[in-house]
Structures are given as structure tokens and as C-alpha cells.
């Protein structure tokens, strides 16, 4: 009892002493969602029920000269095959930010979201996807934060240049077991998915972004030299003959993406145009299994319609 009292006293003493050093802000997001399958030919099926909790702690240290963010993803899927979040995905973000006169520096595990459109931005490529079963590209667990260094330089109020360096990118997360493709007499292939938490072999991703925000228009120009988080497939180990057989392994290739976004508003309409040229390892497009290069154009128009509904 005496030992416990000593420990509690010590913790309280540390908190009291350190209280002037930082300001704390705790925030928690809790929700539950559910998916069920309705098909005319089959019975109703429970697919997913997620109890989600995202605790977050943020604050400032050393008289507001440094900020920190610490947050976690926690969920439990009680329906069907009960499923807890895997340990590597519990830590959502953990980083510090240091503001200087003309630039901000961030270090740690952080979500970075370049691009301007709300969904499916071809420029939002810094972090990999978190493809939990039936998850959408939602803001809560649509992306997995990477361990990175980010520097944002502000030459003036309207412009900024941002460099993000990710030493060991994380691949898209999608829990998948090996798949066997077997068509008797034609194909017998095992597809082996990577399960490493970090892409150590093909490390070092760089993302450079220029931002301009002004009353007339917003502009973003992006260049990235990075390891794509979505896997391609190595088919070199397949042996062809009467029967195509062997193992196909998921691999991660280096890409370059060049693109930009333009946003403006007029007459009650906000318009965003994004274009991205994604150049993969297979520029000629002749390697089976390697993702092809592509150009993506994304246009978004939003307008506010004011509808009066009265309820007395």
C-alpha cells in the first residue's frame, strides 16, 4: 500500500511540475457503423459492424515552441467473424511540429493530404490506403500515417513550398491470405501478398508541393518520386508449359507523379480541377503484372443550394 501511494504521489508530482511546460487537449471520436448484404438470390448476411474509437491527445510544449499530436485507432468488429484491429494499425499519428518564422517542421508518424478535391484525389499519394473490409476512403481510417519528415517553407502569406521525406513507406494495408488460382490443366498459381509493415527494400519517397492561395485562385503543383504503396506483381517465377504454374509475389515499384490542382470560386460555385500524370516502372506497358502509367483528371464542382424548411 505504501509503495502504491508513493507511485501515485510521484505521478501527481511529475504532472504538477510539468504542467507549466505544456498545454494538453484530449479529444475522442466514437462511432459505430454497419454493413449488411441484400441480394435477391441469397439470404441476408451481416458483413461488418464496427465499433470505432479514436482517442487523440495534442498540445504544446516549452511555451508553445513545439506542438505534438498523438492519436490511435481502435475498433472491434463484433459481427460475423469477430475482429480486433491489428496492433500495427493502432497508432494513428504521433508527431511533433516546430513552427519557425518562415517554415514549419514536422517529424513523426503523420497523415499528409496533398490535392484539393474531396475524394479520389490522384495527388493524395503520400500515405498508403487502409483497406479494412468494406471501408470507404473515409477520413477516419482511409489512410495509414507514415513515419516522415515534413518541412513547409512560407516565403510570404500566399505561397508555400513543402517537402515530405518518407524513409520507409508503409504499403497499402489489406489483410489478404495467399490466393491459389487453379484451373485444372491450365493454371496452378499461388499469389503471395507482402505482409511486411514497412517497405525496407525500396525505401525513400520524396514529395514536393508548391501551394498558392489567394482571393483569385488557389494553385497546387506537385512532384513525387516515391514507392507506390499499391502492389504490382512479379511473374518471373512462373513456369509456362502445358500448365502455367509457380508463385506470383506482390512487389512495390518506384513511380514518379507530376501534377497540379487549380481551384477558384465564382457565382456561388467552387470549382477544382486536378490532373496527375503517374509514370510507373512499366512506361512502355509491356510487363505483365506491373501497373501501367496513367493520366488522371478529376473535376469537382460544388454549389450550395439554400432550401428553406420550416418546422413549427
Amino acid at each position: 500500500m505504501n509503495e502504491i501511494a508513493k507511485k501515485i504521489s510521484l505521478i501527481i508530482l511529475v504532472l504538477i511540475i510539468s504542467a507549466p511546460l505544456f498545454a494538453l487537449d484530449f479529444q475522442g471520436i466514437i462511432f459505430a457503423d454497419y454493413y449488411g448484404e441484400i441480394e435477391p438470390s441469397t439470404n441476408y448476411e451481416n458483413l461488418r459492424g464496427r465499433l470505432y474509437f479514436q482517442p487523440g491527445l495534442s498540445g504544446s510544449l516549452f511555451n508553445y515552441s513545439m506542438d505534438f499530436v498523438l492519436s490511435a485507432n481502435l475498433f472491434y468488429d463484433p459481427i460475423g467473424d469477430p475482429d480486433l484491429i491489428v496492433p500495427e494499425n493502432i497508432l494513428r499519428e504521433a508527431y511533433i511540429s516546430v513552427p519557425f518564422d518562415n517554415f514549419d517542421l514536422s517529424l513523426g508518424q503523420k497523415i499528409v493530404s496533398p490535392g484539393m478535391v474531396d475524394v479520389f484525389s490522384p495527388l493524395n499519394i503520400v500515405n498508403g490506403e487502409y483497406a479494412y473490409k468494406l471501408s470507404l476512403d473515409d477520413p477516419y481510417n482511409g489512410k495509414r500515417a507514415d513515419l516522415l519528415a515534413q518541412i513547409q517553407y512560407y516565403p510570404n502569406f500566399d505561397n508555400s513550398i513543402e517537402l515530405v521525406y518518407v524513409p520507409f513507406p508503409r504499403p497499402d494495408y489489406e489483410p489478404t491470405n495467399p490466393i491459389n488460382m487453379n484451373y485444372p490443366g491450365i493454371i496452378d498459381i499461388d499469389i503471395l501478398f507482402n505482409s511486411d509493415p514497412y517497405m525496407l527494400d525500396n525505401a525513400h519517397s520524396f514529395f514536393l508541393t508548391y501551394n498558392h492561395i489567394s482571393p483569385g485562385f488557389d494553385l497546387q503543383l506537385n512532384y513525387a518520386y516515391y514507392t507506390e504503396q499499391t502492389p504490382s506483381f512479379n511473374t518471373e517465377n512462373l513456369t509456362s508449359g502445358a500448365l502455367l504454374t509457380g508463385d506470383v509475389e506482390s512487389i512495390y515499384t518506384r513511380n514518379q507523379t507530376l501534377g497540379g490542382a487549380y481551384g477558384t470560386s465564382f457565382g456561388g460555385i467552387a470549382l477544382v480541377e486536378e490532373v496527375a500524370f503517374n509514370m510507373t516502372k512499366d512506361l512502355p506497358g509491356d510487363k505483365i503484372g506491373i501497373r501501367n502509367s496513367d493520366i488522371t483528371i478529376n473535376s469537382q464542382i460544388t454549389k450550395d443550394f439554400q432550401v428553406e424548411l420550416s418546422c413549427r
Partner: protein, 258 residues
């Protein structure tokens, strides 16, 4: 008889002095007292439904006259938790240029340009105040007519009718005209009635409390009631300060990283 003559003379003199004030003097007086160069406050918006249910929104509010043509406003929301850390930056222009608004959404870590400024303004966080109520407007964009005097809630006021100079302006803001009440002793806008495009009274704005800040007068408790729906919103401003706000507050960097 002599006394009666003097009384009539005094009353007619008072009447003449009231009529002698010009529209420009009223509007100039309003601008001198109301256009505060820097203003910081903690803002609480109470949304009150027709059946008395109350919901609250809290935000830090910053306002600065950047130059003679531009007024910038920043709202950093603190409550309810669903909008916590959301930020709203508004640049409004007095030369007729379109107002520009950006919102910072912490869930997706994006600063997003939005366009609510001309589409009727949109309602500010579900309240009866529209976004257009928070943006400055050029006097030249509106036509004003001095239509007399009236006692409003026991306070003598000058009454000015104001409407968009063009049909498009009136349709954009979905208001055919407004009746403004300027308090006679200090020219603050003590009340405003909004009439919809059908000419029906739709909203009433009333100042409940105001404080004197040097040469300025600032309403600290204001109420907007939608007469047609019975919904009412009350804004209370506390911790009001006129200290100079750095220009960096009204940037996307501050919106994101404050």
C-alpha cells in the same frame, strides 16, 4: 398663449433638427462607430428552435480591416466536438469583388475553398445568421433611403431602407430590402428587418447589449429571429479586444497550424 407658442416653437425646432440630419450623416456616423480596425472575441451562438430547444456553438473570432478595401475574418470553432478545430477564413472586399472563403477541415487536414458568399449567403453553422451577415459590404452596392424615425424597443432610431442596387444582388441574397434602425444617440445599428423576395418580413435582427470601446461601440449580444420559422439565434461576444491582430492570422498557414 405665450407659453403655448413657445412650446410649439420648441417642438417644431426639434422636428426640424431631426429632419435636417442627412442619410450620409447617419451612415457616416454608423461607420465611424462600427467599423473597428481590429476585433477579437469569443463568440457563443445559441440556436433556439421554435419549441425552445437550445444548441450552442462556440468559436474564437478575429476581424481585421486589412486595408481600405478588404476586411478579413477568422473563426476557429471550439464547440460542439463535431466541429472542433474547424476553421473558417473569410476575405470580403468593399470594391464589389466576390467574397472568398476557405474552411479547414481537421478530419481530412485540408484547407478547402468554399463558395457560399453569393448563394444567399448560406446559414452560418445552422443559425439564422447567414454568412453574408458576417461579410462587409460596400455602401455603393446598396441603395439607401432615409424614411423617418421610429422608437424601437423604447429606443429612438433613425430608419433607413436599404436594398441591393441590382436585381441580381437582391436575388443572390434572397432579400428584397432591409429596414435598418440606427440608434439616434450613437448611430449603432440597433435593429434590422429583412424582407424576402415576396416582400414578406422574414428575419429580425436586434441588438440586446453593446459596449463602448474607445470611439467604437460594439454589440456584444445580438439576436436574429426568423419570423417565418420561429427559429431564433443569439450571438454573445465575450473577451472582446481591439488589440492589433497580426496579418498572419488571416492566412491558410494559421488556419491549418494555429
Amino acid at each position: 398663449m405665450k407659453r403655448l407658442f413657445i412650446l410649439i416653437f420648441i417642438l417644431s425646432s426639434l422636428s426640424l433638427s431631426a429632419q435636417n440630419i442627412t442619410l450620409d450623416e447617419i451612415l457616416d456616423g454608423y461607420e465611424v462607430t462600427a467599423f473597428i480596425p481590429n476585433l477579437t472575441s469569443t463568440l457563443t451562438v445559441k440556436l433556439i428552435s421554435a419549441n425552445g430547444e437550445v444548441r450552442e456553438i462556440k468559436a474564437e473570432a478575429y476581424q481585421k480591416n486589412v486595408n481600405t478595401n478588404q476586411v478579413s475574418r477568422l473563426f476557429l470553432f471550439a464547440y460542439p466536438p463535431s466541429v472542433r478545430n474547424t476553421g473558417l477564413l473569410i476575405h470580403s472586399f468593399l470594391n464589389g469583388d466576390e467574397n472568398v472563403m476557405w474552411i479547414y477541415l481537421p478530419a481530412v487536414k485540408r484547407v478547402k475553398r468554399i463558395a457560399l458568399a453569393t448563394s444567399g449567403g448560406g446559414y452560418f453553422m445552422g443559425s439564422d445568421f447567414s454568412y453574408s451577415d458576417f461579410v462587409s459590404k460596400a455602401r455603393a452596392d446598396y441603395t439607401q433611403e432615409f424614411i423617418g424615425e421610429q422608437v424601437l424597443n423604447g429606443t429612438p432610431c433613425y430608419v433607413v431602407k436599404e436594398y441591393g442596387s441590382t436585381q441580381k444582388q437582391r436575388q443572390d441574397f434572397k432579400v428584397s430590402y432591409m429596414i435598418n434602425y440606427y440608434r439616434k444617440d450613437d448611430f449603432i445599428m440597433y435593429g434590422r428587418d429583412y424582407y424576402d423576395l415576396a416582400g414578406e418580413l422574414v428575419k429580425e435582427y436586434r441588438v440586446k447589449e453593446a459596449i463602448v470601446l474607445g470611439q467604437y461601440i460594439y454589440p456584444t449580444v445580438v439576436e436574429m429571429e426568423n419570423i417565418q420559422t420561429g427559429h431564433k439565434s443569439i450571438i454573445e461576444m465575450t473577451d472582446v479586444s481591439t488589440d492589433i491582430i497580426p496579418d498572419r492570422y488571416f492566412t491558410s498557414r494559421y488556419l491549418k497550424n494555429r
